[in-house]
Amino acid sequence: MIRFLDVHKSYRVDGREIPALQPFNLDIRDGEVFGIIGHSGAGKSTLIRLINLLERPSGGRILIGDTDMTALPEPALRAQRRRIGMIFQHFNLLSSQTVADNVAFPLRLAGERDAAKIRARVDELLARVGLTEHAGKYPSQLSGGQKQRVGIARALANRPEILLCDEATSALDPQTTASVLDLLAAINRELKLTIVLITHEMDVVRRICDRVAVLDAGRIVESGTVADVFLHPQHATTRRFVDEALPEEAATAQAPNMTGRVLRLTFRGAATLQPVLSRVMREHGVDFNLLAGRIDRIKELPYGQLTLALEGANTDAALAALRAAGIEIEEMGA
């Protein structure tokens, strides 16, 4: 568990304290993928860098398990940092070293001298990220996606319990992003390590996170499971992020000249895959007009979200039946 207790952070700029993060509390559970989403300058990097104390908090405590990171002397802090891997938006690989030497770097830093052991571990890691045949290349000879895979292999070298990802896919195209996210999800599943990732894209959160916190101007304005936050965003900033991820839907739902009651139905899990809607509408003699909709997944959870305009005498009874079938319903206002 990573636990922030009354943590806040301000930067000293020209003798003045500029707040970057307002006091907050946050728990990140073992083995989960925790997302932090926010616009540029919201304080995401500051927050994630507090975890391995690349940034010292101005106040409050940061606990990893039972260890108070903020109280550690320098050598103990360095030992702790070896148990926390980190990957970066711009990869930050050593340009003067080969792929294999980049991956071996944290092992050597940790004092491993046995060349055979280093080799074996590097081979294993490169196989894990699918770069075995690139071991002898230099970073400048790799694509962005390959560089990030080297970054991931390097971050995993010392078998960390936590992996921090600072905008790990922001410099990559959509397809490469998807494959890097799949790799991160597989690592989380198979190695059971905790992943904390920050991003400005809701789609990244939707694909691999279990829980998410929304950061707005140094404040956590919303947090919860990704399904809850994504399907029922409360804060304006969150809504904007969700709309960015679903642009066409945001546009149609605002279409004028709609008659009847406009509702948004949310199906989660098994309900998504069953013909509940047509059955209930037929039984209650209600007509519906489909305004917008999508069926997709949040991590492994299938969900559907439909915006409907209902017309008919029996709409209330129909809605009650839908609710009984586990479908979430929101009135969208006339």
Binding site: R78, M86, L94, Q97
Partner: protein, 227 residues
């Protein structure tokens, strides 16, 4: 005695052995002072880098003092530095003359210059790479040894080249006040005795030396730049 082509071309140069000796003296002064300059300037440059504003071991006051000292040494013209340092030179190597006498002022003149070049080269290293190493638990020494120096090696090689070439110029100047070498020949025969062929030959040799250094340096830098 039939005149060899060399003799007819350079009628005033009657002792080619002396010229060869001067060449070797210049190379010795260059080699010795360059090695010591790197040995002293590299740690000094690392120190300047580390203690600079916003760096790993920022110490503004300390940095200010070292920086001032470096600037003072850099702004004194070499020929004056050499004269001012004569007592120090004598105390260090027991003579003010010859190759040995030239090396202390050469090193004291060039090391601060090289240290600045080192500092600049290290500043070119991406902050993110340093941060990545810190995130892996690297100590400051490990960052210097395994990140800063290897990542900056292209810039460092370029700095050594520039310093070597500056040292060639310094050794030639030193010749005027008794340190021997090609500068000494050019000054004594070429300038004081109006034997312009001496001047020409020494200048050509110095130009060749500088060219060779530059080419070697460029080669090394290019090899490092490829990655």
């Amino acid at each position: 005695m039939t005149a060899s082509p060399l003799q007819s071309l350079f009628p005033n140069i009657d002792d080619w052995g002396e010229l060869g000796h001067a060449c070797i003296d210049t190379l010795l002064m260059l080699g010795g002072s360059l090695a010591l300059t790197v040995l002293i300037g590299l740690p000094l440059g690392v120190l300047l880098y580390l203690t600079g504003k916003g760096q790993l071991r920022a110490m503004p006051k300390f940095y200010g003092i070292v920086s001032l000292l470096v600037n003072v040494l850099r702004s004194v013209p070499f020929i004056i530095l050499m004269i001012v340092l004569m007592p120090v030179t004598y105390a260090l190597v027991g003579t003010k003359l010859g190759v040995r006498g030239a090396i202390p002022p050469l090193v004291i003149g060039a090391a601060p210059f090289f240290a600045r070049l080192v500092e600049t080269a290290l500043r070119e290293v991406q902050q993110g790479v340093i941060e990545a190493a810190q995130a892996m638990g690297a100590s400051t020494w490990q960052v210097v040894r395994h990140v800063l120096l290897p990542e900056a090696r292209g810039g460092l090689a370029a700095g050594i080249t520039v310093t070597a070439i500056a040292l060639v110029g310094y050794t030639a100047m030193g010749g005027a006040i008794g340190s021997g070498g090609l500068g000494d020949l050019a000054y004594r025969y070429g300038y004081l005795s109006y034997k312009s062929d001496y001047m020409l030959v020494t200048v050509v040799l110095l130009v060749v030396l500088v060219q060779l250094l530059q080419m070697m340096g460029d080669r090394i830098v290019a090899r490092y730049k490829r990655h």
